[in-house]
Subunit: 371 residues, 2 copies
């Protein structure tokens, strides 16, 4: 489930992740391509061995971060050209190259290179972007050499139902092992995002995983699962943790707040994570204010544990045929301990939610949750 751009989930070891039940990690192709280099990782035995993670891995195509981390990007039918954000060196990524890099890294799930349509975009622009993505998707499929990896296609089409439908159909004809819904969480309203998800997800093959990229709060995830989505990735649990914002059943908890200074209780009473079993809010607040590295680690452990628990509940509710009831009870949770003015609809949303939306959503460290 969780992840890091740099072949690690920030602040955690693989053992930390396994202890909390994580099953899959996302790594960012863009970062690994630039440093330490996919060929080096291949020589060293592949990404699993390099990062000491013997369980499933997913790599993105690199395209998203080429655009979000670089100013000088040139897009053409052939692919994308850009300058490294590290040393300014020039690079080009084509669909064939994206597959080549991901085959060298050796993740279990790899992604087609896509053109993430910006928001807002006119119908014409979204259509041209979609055609490019479909062309690239075919080239990715045709250039793959390894058959032991699952290759996912990415649905684009902006906020236009007809384009999303065309995208789903065209990708389905090409045939992929799974399908991602891309081009969302790029600045549009949450209502619009879920409108697109609800129109798109049901069109996807029911016998293949459906992956909503870059989403979201537990509330968002519950909503998307109700629409038929199976997989997610998001930086929220890990990045929020490093910023001292914790997820609890009652909403967000901001550890630096003075109310926690003398608080002996854990972040969430009853939580079975390592952090809650052993440390008080008072201590976690102290570590955070003292800018101790351990603060990031302990907070990350709690937030990922929260997400993994949450996904476990969703799976169980599905297995027992009571997903809708479960989702209702989930929505009825508190309004966020720290944010009394937060909308009752998402106890884990704003103000952090607002900061997390838009292009930066998957820049640094993402989380993949599998339903």
């Amino acid at each position: 489930m969780p992840v890091g751009t740099q072949a690690t989930v920030k602040a955690l070891t693989p053992e930390d992740l396994r202890e909390m039940g994580a099953e899959i990690i996302l790594s960012n192709t863009y970062h690994l391509y630039l440093r330490p280099g996919h060929e080096r990782i291949q020589r060293l035995g592949g990404l699993h061995r390099f990062m000491h993670w013997d369980y499933p891995l997913l790599t993105d195509s690199g395209g998203f971060q080429v655009f979000s981390l670089n100013a000088l990007v040139k897009l053409s039918a052939e692919g994308v050209q850009f300058q490294s954000h590290i040393d300014g060196s020039r690079h080009g990524i084509t669909p064939e190259k994206a597959v080549e890099i991901q085959e060298a890294l050796g993740a279990d799930i790899i992604m087609c290179l896509d053109d993430c349509t910006p928001y807002p975009a006119s119908h014409g622009r979204a259509e041209r972007s979609l055609e490019l993505t479909l062309n690239w998707s075919r080239r990715c499929r045709d250039s793959r050499r390894r058959q032991d990896q699952a290759l996912f296609g990415i649905v684009q089409g902006g906020m236009y139902p007809d384009l999303r439908k065309r995208s789903v159909e065209a990708l389905g004809e090409m045939g992929f092992e799974g399908y991602a819904i891309g081009g969302l969480s790029v600045g549009e309203s949450k209502e619009l995002m879920f409108e697109v998800v609800s129109q798109t997800a049901p069109l996807l093959p029911s016998d293949r995983p459906r992956y909503l990229m870059g989403v979201g709060t537990p509330f968002d995830i519950a909503q998307a699962v109700l629409q038929g989505v199976d997989m997610f990735d998001c930086v929220l649990p890990t990045r929020n943790a490093r910023n001292g914002t914790l997820f609890t059943r009652n909403g967000r908890l901001v550890i630096k707040n003075a109310r926690h200074a003398d608080e002996e209780s854990p972040l969430e009473p009853g939580c079975s994570c390592y952090t809650c079993r052993n440390f008080s809010r008072a201590y976690l607040r102290h570590l955070y204010l003292a800018e101790e590295i351990l603060a990031m680690r302990l907070n990350t452990i709690h937030n990922l544990h929260f997400y993994l628990d949450f996904m476990g509940e969703i799976r169980q509710a599905i297995a027992e045929g009571r997903l809708k009831e479960w989702a209702k009870s989930c929505y009825a949770l508190g309004n966020g301990e720290e944010e009394e003015g937060a909308p009752p609809s998402d106890p884990w949303g704003s103000p952090s939610r607002k900061r997390m939306t838009g292009k930066k959503n998957r820049d640094s460290t993402g989380t993949v949750s599998m339903k």
Copy 2:
């Protein structure tokens, strides 16, 4: 054995420390007094409980950091007055207050407030500083209320044998549970430091622990043990780890060096630490260059494991009556893998050694090793 200013060993959990066999942690009174406050920690059940560490703890008196972290310090017979480096607030620490704070924190070993004589200092100045320390030591002893903590006196006297001798005798008459040799590693040459240690250590009661504060490299420690020292604290293993400098049997290893880019072997072949059991130098170099938090954690684990192993060897050599032979073989180790020009006398010394000497030596995170 290891430690942090902020009630943590930077980047590690108590479980990490126990797994590598650490038995005692040093915490800095100055930092905890200012934030989160000794009274708060006392209300929360004491330092052991606060930081989730059920094993021995040592707190320093706070005096050293009052001087090293603050510009506006006023010294008087009564004590020291200073402004917080965090918020500029004014504070005063007297010998009585130093004991009161340390009793509230509740460590197993606490230290007398001393005046760390600067280097160089004239005989007259060193003598006045010593008299102040002796006066404060008596006041610390007389003001203690808890008898379940061991109170250590600190020997001062600059680089003058007669003053060191007077210091030892006066403290011995007062009667403490242990004795520290202070006022060293403050800018003097290593030769001079060991001259003072060799003159001072044998004078101390042989039935009480002898503690050399702020020292040192494994080489320094071996030398001091030969002079009869039992305990040490130092930031070297943890701070070097965070800076990417690792300790190995062959000397220092600088992980960022290009030679490690494709290196599949661990930091030290045969090392049984978590880091060496699971990660290649290539991966550790990648994490370090990518500025990943995990780099600091994995490096810290290795360096502390190295120190703890080293101390274990010393204990065994003493038990088997072959300390001198062991020390000889230790000195005969390589000249430092990365530092071909380093003096053969200390494979773990310069250039980092030079940076670590002087006043800053115990500023941030220290390590206590018990023989």
